[in-house]
Subunit: 181 residues, 2 copies
DNA sequence: TACAATATATATCATTTTGTAATATAGGTC
DNA sequence: GACCTATATTACAAAATGATATATATTGTA
């Protein structure tokens, strides 16, 4: 999803400022599958405003820039509904960790070990966050579905890594030349 | 990984043109975790050449542009090895499908059904490709590890979706008011 | 208590990435 | 014969990303 659609999606659950949109994505259900920074959000909101898909109310504040609270217009709501029914792109995973594992053969074993341990810790941290969200209750069915999905996938990843890590580290412990000789 | 590092990574497995790098990423092990288009590859190769991380040999061809075959320099090889040991970013998944599922409540049930079926088909297609690669044999341990990883995760996704799809479609079939009454 | 870190809030700029089209030809399919 | 796919690179606009700037209140730590 592009930044504009993501902003519309967050705003469909309640009015928000750019700053609040960021927080909502980070800690809400969208966070499982999306990532967005301020440098994407603010230009997106400007363009949405140009197209009358959102309206703005400014609140003066002391010590900070004025807070601009955005609100979906009827047009914006229609636009979101339209976007949701457009053809989906296929899912994508980017993994720096797996990328490095492709080079396990040529990396120092201790480095590989460390990377694996770090990744497993990250997964456990993610699982903890998922469980916390699950205890806090869900906004709708999709939210519950996605949380369960994320938990299942993270667990599968951790299990696979734990069961197969010896392949990687074993291979880097024994230099290939030694095997050939 | 950025485009430059990805190019270095592919070139570390053999000399290639931009076009061939694209194909290698698409159908090789990198394809599980990376995506890259020509509009990223060619500028990346230019910059790598500027920095002497790759060298080029041009081959004249008829009917097509000259083929430029790139080759890692010693410097390029060092640079790749360095990049592999830099801190990893956390893994990221983008899913248009899951994004839409968050709005299952407000989408027509038939549309949701269709999206789920499409997604399951895509996963099966991906699994078929993974199995084909597994039968073709692996280049190194990392490759085998990643293939198994991808298979495990895709299978976990499909199973979860099949077991929980009724939640989503049920929710959009039965208006919430009807449940409350 | 002093100092540091975090939270609040937006803007901007350079760099990267992405999507799309242009170009040109050979070979296979309907 | 028309159309699609494969080969191969370039160019350009649009979008996303990372980093920095600005300014202050609050919270946490030593």
């Amino acid at each position: 999803m592009d930044a504009k659609t993501l902003c519309l999606a967050v705003l469909s659950q309640g009015d928000a400022s750019g700053y609040e949109i960021r927080k909502a994505v980070e800690s809400g259900p969208f966070g499982h599958i999306q990532d967005i920074g301020y440098s994407s959000i603010y230009p997106a909101l400007s363009r949405l405003h140009d197209d009358d898909l959102v309206s703005v109310t400014e609140y003066a504040q002391e010590g900070r820039p004025d807070k601009k609270v955005y609100k979906l217009t009827a047009e914006g709501r229609m636009s979101l509904l339209g976007a949701l029914q457009e053809p989906t792109e296929s899912d994508k995973t980017r993994s720096d960790f797996l990328f490095r594992m492709l080079f396990a053969d040529i990396l120092p074993p201790s480095v590989v070990e460390q990377m694996i341990d770090n990744r497993l810790q990250e997964i456990e941290a993610t699982l903890a966050r998922i469980n916390a969200r699950s205890n806090a209750g869900f906004e709708n069915t999709g939210d519950a579905f996605l949380n369960g999905f994320a938990a299942t996938v993270q667990r599968a990843m951790a299990d696979y890594i734990e069961e197969n890590r010896y392949q990687l580290v074993g291979s880097s412990l024994v230099p290939q030349r030694a095997v050939a000789e």
